[in-house]
Amino acid sequence: MEAWVRFSAQSAAKERVFRAAQYACTLLGYTMQKNGASAELLARIKQLEAHMSLGRKLFRLGNSAEALEAAKRAIHLSDMVLRFCITVAHLNRAMYFACDNILWAGKTGLVPHADQEKWSQRSFRYYLFALIMNLSRDAYEIRLLMEREASGKRPKGTENGHQAQVDNGLQHLALRLRIQLRLLGHVLRSNPPLLLDLVKNACDIFIPLDKLGLYKTSPGFVGLCGLTSSILSILTIVHPWLKLKP
């Protein structure tokens, strides 16, 4: 019980729990619709989902400040690529939260003439850019680690030994690909924070891709991706060593 008190004392943690619940509702609603549930039940699930979404929007007021602070910290990183990716990601997140605030103001009637559709599209666009930056950062980290691993193994001459057996260009390519994939698997297995961050961002990216119409999937798939990424986020809060630094 004390663990829950400590966990829910952080506003980000509690918000993630409700995000998980919201996407679970999306997934549940889609599943029940496919299984022919009553319209009343579906309406109730949709109402719960909308209520959680609005509640989360209220709770996120002021998150732009947190994103700007994070960008301010990231600008002092030594690695240039990391500095660029992380700072731009945080700035996009700050813009996403600003659009989200306007959406909340529109939904609560403070700004009744706000074009909900336009601001929603804008917010998803910023969210998408932030995720692309996060994934670029992940790809960069993976490449660095793979290069380090590969340069560590080369003196052992494993690659030369294999090359002696190859007599076909395509087979050679397939072999190189297998080696790279094995290396990738090894790098990700030995770096759980990076793996978790990669999976989280990969799951998250399907949400704006669907909402912007760039890659339409189903509400069930979006719900599943959202639920998975929320659970992974909760995991990184409960076990801080799993969070990718910086």
Binding site: M1, S11, K14, Q47, G62, E69, T108
Partner: protein
């Protein structure tokens, strides 16, 4: 901005900010009620207040665990009266959060057949009794401090009758001849800001349940003002933890 981010990273900090905003809307709505002109501002304030109240209810889910954990901690206090008062207050608060959760389930449509007014009445009564327990503890602490101050005065009088360097004595001496109680109380509370803040907060919080239960009817303006004051005190005790009554 960093201080704001640190403050809003705590769930309770964020909740107090929204509570202050909610009661400010109530107060402002009451002030504008008696002014002529379009009701658009008043309607917007009412909607904003309702939205904040509903969002805060969502984020209060799970707080009954907090109350149970707090009760488990207060049951170990050395002093009998604070132990009983605070443990009772926390247990009643847990009941309040249970009623609050049921009301949330009703508002979201998950429990459509419950009587809202009945559960609301129980929730208000639980909140009221919990506040009374907190005030009993505050009164006990105040009376103990007054007793201590009186004893100190007597001891000082016996040893150094003409010593007027002590600020306490200046307070006590000048008022001893006339009405001693109120100025003595003022001096005591001035030296113990956490107790003063806690008493003020509990007294302000009483206005809402007193009105709802029909014990002492006021108006939304007074309730809004008291709620705003108690939220500001709550924000102060979270921003400066040394001001929280232990």
């Amino acid at each position: 901005m960093e201080a704001f981010v640190l403050f809003t990273n705590q769930t309770q900090g964020r909740d107090r900010l929204f509570r202050a905003a909610q009661y400010a809307c109530m107060l402002l709505g009451h002030v504008l009620e008696h002014q002529a002109g379009p009701g658009a501002a008043r309607a917007a304030l009412r909607q904003l207040e309702a939205s904040m109240s509903s969002g805060r209810k969502l984020f209060r889910l799970g707080n009954m665990v907090h109350a149970m954990v707090a009760a488990r901690q207060t049951i170990q206090l050395p002093d009998l009266v604070p132990r009983i008062c605070l443990t009772a207050s926390n247990l009643i608060r847990a009941l309040y959060f249970i009623c609050d959760t049921v009301l949330w389930l009703k508002s979201v449509g998950l429990l459509p057949h419950i009587y809202k007014w009945k559960w609301r009445n129980w929730a208000t009564k639980c909140y009221y009794y919990s506040l009374l327990m907190n005030l009993t503890r505050d009164l006990y602490e105040i009376s103990w401090l007054l007793e201590q101050a009186a004893e100190k005065e007597k001891a000082k009088e016996n040893s150094f009758p003409s010593d007027t360097q002590d600020q306490d004595l200046i307070c006590l001496e000048t008022e001893r001849q006339s009405q001693p109680f109120l100025p003595l109380l003022y001096c005591t509370l001035k030296k113990h800001p956490p107790l003063l803040l806690d008493t003020t907060k509990n007294l302000c919080d009483l206005s809402s349940p007193l009105d709802r239960l029909g014990i002492y009817k006021t108006n939304p303006g007074i309730i809004g003002l008291c709620g705003l004051l108690s939220s500001l005190v709550g924000i102060l005790t979270i921003a400066k933890p040394h001001l929280k009554l232990k």
